[in-house]
Symmetry: C2
Subunit: 352 residues, 2 copies
């Protein structure tokens, strides 16, 4: 097992009364399509598992294979293939129709079962006396998209979730090329939904998302596929996460200037197509409140509209059970300082 | 605002495949009733908010005032006054009967409303088409106990949750005496349930719990009150938290050798009456998985029965949605080293 220093700086502080009650250390990389780092705070070369933050990269074969076109997939179906969805009716319907178009059904999903992320969907199931199924799993759209790619590519869908399946080998290759690193089994973990999660440095992830967003550094078919997936997520941001969740409201407000996707254990990746930049960050301890607050701070410096679109995140107010303000989630001095320097730097526009 | 270094060591690592995916830094103090530190890992002098970890100290006036005896409170009612309960029927019933004995009702609770901690209780409310009330709040027992103390002491219960109310001033005094530090408003925050939470160092908290557990260093009436509260929690550990939760199963297995109570943002305090020791720890980032794993490691070294009672925590196996083992929550090398040293040290028995 690799060494485990915790030398990353504190990025986010949770303040209550006169004290910092809790703190979140982490690392963040912002890079262009050539891999030039515009910002590197913390250890951005240490491999991390991107988890669900790379679902859009994992969905590239769905478009590159021609499956999306051949099966006539809608924006909603492509967006849910890139999603960590809330399990609301709209998500379940999109996954079901995707599977139906491909000639498969829920029984093929290997993601396992959990209660919907959405309280509303959970309560509806409970009221109806029902249990959740694999289709409610936040990853069911990604799995459905992988099944569609298998069908189109003539791969046996059985065991599609295993690292030695042709589709997963293809995905590892695509991620390696897009991010400019060589992924291999020595750095692989198994995700919550049983798919492989390939570790790679935040710097490489940031470069990969710069390429994904702007199309630079990708072969034409891949750039087209990336643009198609992004366009689908921009058209249906509620499919990528769900109402009230960061990726949905951030893209609803900031697309097409921002593509963003979070993953478990506080990884979040973003593409800023207009600026030709990619962002990748991870909070060391896995706390979502840390990654959302960090990204909001960075986006406010890079995208003019972000300051109002993410006002609640930037404010970070914490209310207690009676609605009394008891504290605030704030950017650390170190993060603020890094962001201020970033803000002052003249930015290069991506080539068209 | 005080400075915010994150110099505390990593205590717990979350391993997935070949990598440490996430890590939790923190600090832990183990002290005797005289304040002698048996273990100090990380910064144990930095003030922290103990949150719900000190509910048993906050409940001392309930017994010291004579309220518990005068109102004929049961073990269940006293235990729920020390609880962060799950909101199951058994908890709601205990809080209701406590309030009834005192001549008050749910409308006096100032804790605010949240859905029960227990999934089962939440589902039961949803199925019945009902909403949670203040009595379902995990802190409702503590609030009910405070109301009972007010009635007994002749304090106007109105505003009992405010820091300038006579009862809260009394509680701050009791905490100051028990922990051997002076608490004041300059270090006060407001808790999720609207009560004051007074910051103090982990070293002082550990000393306070050593005294609470063994009675040493406390005036006789307070020692008697502490023993009565502990005995109630030992008799009804399911009232202190709930089924499947750490404090409940740990005390069920290890009482009377262990009293333990957790609080929000990953604080946990424990008393080991037989050893005359108190424990206080906080994970910097507020992650519960970090504080439970840390305490399990320490308890396994101090209490012979803990290794089997906390076997699941010590194993730390992480399963995914299909039940596949994907990783492990482990003690860091630094924590293991500190615990090994602790284990080797001859321990002093508390005087009877």
């Amino acid at each position: 097992m690799r060494e485990t220093s915790s030398a990353n700086p504190v990025l986010v502080e949770v303040v209550r009364g006169p004290l910092v009650e809790s703190r979140h250390a982490g690392a963040i990389a912002i890079a262009d399509a050539d891999g030039r780092l515009v910002l590197a705070l913390g250890d951005v070369e240490r491999p991390v598992y991107p988890r669900s933050a790379v679902k859009a990269l994992q969905a590239l074969p769905l478009v590159e294979s021609g499956a999306a076109e051949a099966f006539g997939l809608s924006d909603e179906e492509l967006a849910v293939a890139c999603a960590s969805h809330s399990g609301d009716d709209v998500h379940v319907a999109a996954v079901r129709s995707l599977l139906t178009k491909v000639g498969l059904d829920e029984s093929h999903l290997a993601c396992g079962v959990h209660w919907p992320v959405s309280d509303q969907a959970t309560r509806a199931l409970i009221k109806a006396g029902r249990r959740p199924r694999a289709i409610h799993n936040n990853c069911s759209g990604k799995h459905a998209g992988m099944l569609a790619a298998c069908v189109r590519l003539g791969f046996d869908p059985s065991g599609y979730e295993r690292p030695d399946h042709k589709l997963q080998i293809m995905i590892a290759g695509i991620m390696s090329e897009t991010c400019g690193v060589r992924l291999d089994r020595s750095g692989m973990g198994v995700d919550g939904c049983s798919l492989p999660t390939w570790s790679l440095p935040l710097a490489a992830l940031a470069r990969g998302f710069a390429r994904f967003g702007a199309g630079q550094g990708l072969e034409p078919a891949r750039a087209t596929a990336a643009a198609r997936l992004m366009q689908a997520c921009f058209a249906a941001p509620e499919l990528v996460a769900g109402e009230g969740r960061f990726d949905t409201f951030a893209m609803r407000a900031l697309a097409p200037e921002l593509f963003v996707k979070g993953g478990a254990e506080a990884v979040r990746c973003a593409a800023l197509p207009g600026l030709g930049l990619g962002i990748a960050l991870k909070i060391d301890d896995g706390a979502k409140r840390g990654d959302e607050r960090t990204l909001a701070e960075v986006l406010a410096a890079l995208l003019p509209k972000a300051r109002s679109a993410l006002a609640d995140q930037l404010d970070g107010e914490m209310l207690n059970w009676r609605g009394i303000n008891v504290g605030q989630i704030v950017a650390s001095a170190k993060l603020k300082q890094a962001v201020a320097a970033l803000d002052a730097r003249p930015r290069r526009r991506a080539k068209a």
